[in-house]
């Protein structure tokens, strides 16, 4: 968190000093701020882990967009063609996420990808019930969901 604030401050300082108040210049400032934070990371304990987190977040956004578009096309195909190819069902997914915040994030991400909709969490917070639209390959679906959860949890821990 401190890392993100410092990065923002350095970016703003760059905008102030260069005198060019445009979005593009702010982006340049953020990139330079990030580079300087990478360089001084070994000296400051409070920055630990911040530089590694940024590429992870970018990778996660890319992975998520890929999943979003791929699955949307699949649902679109099924909606448009007359016979139903879908095999919907409710499955139980064991959760690695522990706190309420993490469970909320994971459930929201699962709801956002087409083809899966989180229904409810069990009372002991161990299992998430998910309504899935394509259960032809249940093992593959479970693996995908697990990978999504794993990547999402990496961002917070």
């Amino acid at each position: 968190m401190t890392g993100a604030i410092w990065n923002l401050l350095l970016g703003l300082a760059w905008v102030m000093l260069s005198g060019d108040f445009s979005g593009l210049n702010l982006l340049v400032g953020l990139v330079f701020g990030y580079i300087s934070l990478v360089l001084i990371e070994p000296q400051l304990a409070s920055l630990k882990g911040y530089p590694a987190r940024v590429p992870r977040i970018i990778g996660f956004v890319g992975f998520f967009l890929k999943e979003l578009i791929q699955a949307n096309l699949r649902v679109a195909f099924d909606v448009l063609t007359p016979p139903w190819h879908m095999r919907p069902g409710v499955i139980a997914m064991p959760l690695n996420a522990k706190t309420e915040m993490e469970i909320t994030m994971v459930a929201n991400l699962i709801s956002l990808t087409p083809g899966t909709l989180s229904l409810d969490v069990s009372d002991d917070r161990k299992v998430l019930y998910i309504h899935a639209m394509f259960l032809d390959d249940e093992e593959g679906l479970r693996r995908n969901l697990k990978e999504m959860e794993h990547r999402a949890l990496e961002l917070f821990r």
Partner: protein, 134 residues
Amino acid sequence: MIDLIKGTLIIAGSLFMLLASIGILRLPDLLTRMHATTKAAALGVMLIMVAAAMHFAETSIVARALAIVVFILMTAPVAAHVIGRAGYFVGSKLWSGTVKDELRPNYDPLTHELKSGMETQENAKRQPRDTDPD
């Protein structure tokens, strides 16, 4: 060139919205309808907002377009989850082609208790003790 990209994005976005509305009409039950509407519509809004940001290319409008995308991404799944959950527990019928339902056996409609199914396995493995009530 940039006009071509903007046009493609807007047309793709509106097509996804159209798909969402066709989905509401065609799909057989509540939960599959929630699938079609929330996600396709969210993707459609995202694509149109990206096109708008590219068209105006001003800081204030790009910031607003980004904010719209973020808010859609935050609210759409919550709404879908709440509507789907309420519909399921109120008792809306699942489609006849539904292949499995792992939630129903774990839910007690009288106490509204939702078990995880993990404790039953533990219970199955647990050895009986003297202190257990009959």
